[in-house]
Symmetry: C2
Subunit: 234 residues, 2 copies
DNA sequence: ACTCAGGTTTGACACCGATTAAATTCATGA
DNA sequence: TCATGAATTTAATCGGTGTCAAACCTGAGT
C-alpha cells in the first residue's frame, strides 16, 4: 500500500525510473528502448516488465509498451527526487562538478532512505531543480510544471534564460559548462542552419555555434517582453 | 586480481565485513554467528561461505569456521574504511548524531566508489578514527594498530582517555552520549562490583555507575603516568 | 567407548534478474 | 492480401542468494 514499505529493490527502482522518463511524452515506453537504457537485452526487459506488471507498478500492453500505474509513478518520482537532490548535494556540499554527479547520484538514489533524503533536502535549502535544471519532484510525489521550452523550436531572435541542459552525457555537460551555457545564463537564438545544421546563439559574453544535437538539449524560459531583437542593444 | 575491478556485489561485501570483524580475535568466524549477524539462516550462510571460498575470498574449514584470505581482507578493509569514513562524514558534514550514522553508513558503504571515498576522506580531513573511535583502515588496506584497552580489565583506579565506544547499538550510543562518555573524554575506573556487577567510573564532571555489559564496550588509553590514585587529587 | 546436543552442511526447492535462441506478433508496402 | 522485417515475447537455462527439513559432524560428559 505505502510504497515506502514495499520491498522494492534497486533493479525495480531503476526500471521504474527509466519507464517514467521514457513515457513522459505520452507514448508508452517500448521494450527495446527500456532495455537499451538499462543495458540489458530486450528479452530480459520483457520478462522484468511482466514482473512489474504483476506487482501493479506498470500498465503493460503486450507488443505495445509500458506506462506506469499511479503506484509506479509514485515510486519513480521518489527515486527521481532522490537522484536530483543528490546531484545538488554532490555539487553544493561535496564539491563535485556538474558533469560528474549523475553517476554518483545514480548509485546512491536507490539506497538512501526517507530520513536521508530529508536531510539532504534541508542541507541544500530545499532546491526545486537539479544542477542541470531538471525539476525536482516534491516530497509528496508531485512533479511541478515548468514553462521550459526547447531553444531550437523558438523563432530566430528569441531571447531568454537557460533553465535546463537536458542531457546526461558528461562530455556534453562539461562542454556546456566551459561555454557558460548553464541554467541561469541569458541566451539569444541567432540562427539555425537548415536541415539540422549549426545553431548560433549569443550569451552576454560571446557568440557560440553549436551542432544541432547539442543545441537541442537547451531548454529556456523566453523573456516575457515581446521583443525579439536579435542584435545587441547599442 | 585487483579487488576494485572484481564484481563484488553488496551481499559479498557484507559477508566479508562481518567475517573480518568476527575473526578479529584470531578465532575463525563460525557459520551460526555469521548468519545471525547478517540476518540469514545458518544454511544460507553455509552455502554463501562455500561460494566465497571458491572465489578465494575466505579460507573455509568445514565444521570449523571461516577466516579471510589476504584477498578477502583487502576487500573487507576497503568496505570498513568506507563505512567509517562515511560515519565521520555523516556527523561532520550532514549533521547526523552518532547513534544514527551506523545504519546510513551501512547502506552506503557498498555503493560508493573510490572517487567518492577519496572525496569524503578529503572533506573530513583524513580522519583516522570513526566517531565511535574505531580505527579507519588506510587507503592501501592497512589497519593501523592502536593502544586501546578495555576499561574493565584495568586495575581499579586506572585513569585514562576514552578512545572507543565499541558497540553499534544505537540506544547504548545515545546513552553514552548523554553521559558524555565518548572518545576524548577523561575517565577513571573507580570500582567494579563482583560477578559482572555495576561498574563505577568518574569523569571530569560526574561519577557514573554503569551495568557491566555497557562498561565492557569502553576502550581507553591509560594515562602514561604510573599513578593509579583512585581518589580525586585534593 | 558411546551418546547426545548443538552446530553445520546437504538436498530440494524458489525467486530474481539475467542470457541466448527460437517463436510470435505487428505494421507496412508490394 | 499477403509477405516481410523489425520489435517483442517465450522457452530453456544460468548464477546468485535465500528458505526449510533432513542428514551429518563434533566434542563433552557419562
Amino acid at each position: 500500500m505505502n510504497p515506502e514499505t514495499q520491498d522494492l529493490n534497486q533493479a525495480t527502482l531503476h526500471y521504474l525510473d527509466v519507464i517514467y522518463r521514457l513515457s513522459q511524452g505520452g507514448e508508452p515506453a517500448t521494450t527495446n528502448v527500456i532495455a537499451e537504457r538499462l543495458g540489458v537485452t530486450p528479452s530480459g526487459a520483457s520478462i522484468m516488465l511482466r514482473r512489474l506488471a504483476r506487482r501493479k507498478l506498470v500498465q503493460l500492453t503486450p507488443y505495445k509498451g509500458a506506462t506506469l500505474t499511479p503506484q509506479g509513478i509514485k515510486v519513480a518520482l521518489r527515486t527521481i527526487r532522490r537522484h536530483r537532490l543528490l546531484e545538488v548535494f554532490l555539487i553544493q556540499v561535496m564539491g563535485f562538478r556538474w558533469h560528474e554527479v549523475d553517476k554518483h547520484a545514480h548509485a546512491l538514489e536507490t539506497v538512501i532512505d526517507q530520513e536521508f533524503e530529508d536531510r539532504i533536502d534541508e542541507i541544500t535549502g530545499h532546491p526545486t531543480r537539479c544542477p542541470h535544471g531538471h525539476v525536482i519532484p516534491t516530497r509528496d510525489g508531485v512533479m511541478p510544471a515548468v514553462p521550459d521550452v526547447k531553444l531550437v523550436i523558438q523563432p530566430i531572435g528569441t531571447a531568454g534564460v537557460i533553465r535546463c541542459i537536458d542531457t546526461d552525457k558528461p562530455e556534453w555537460l562539461e562542454y556546456f559548462g566551459q561555454l557558460g551555457l548553464m541554467p541561469g545564463a541569458s541566451i539569444t537564438l541567432k540562427s539555425i542552419a537548415p536541415y539540422g545544421g549549426a545553431v548560433t546563439v549569443a550569451t552576454s559574453e560571446q557568440t557560440i555555434t553549436l551542432g544541432y544535437p547539442l543545441a537541442e538539449v537547451i531548454l529556456i524560459e523566453p523573456d516575457r517582453t515581446g521583443d525579439t531583437t536579435p542584435t545587441q542593444s547599442a
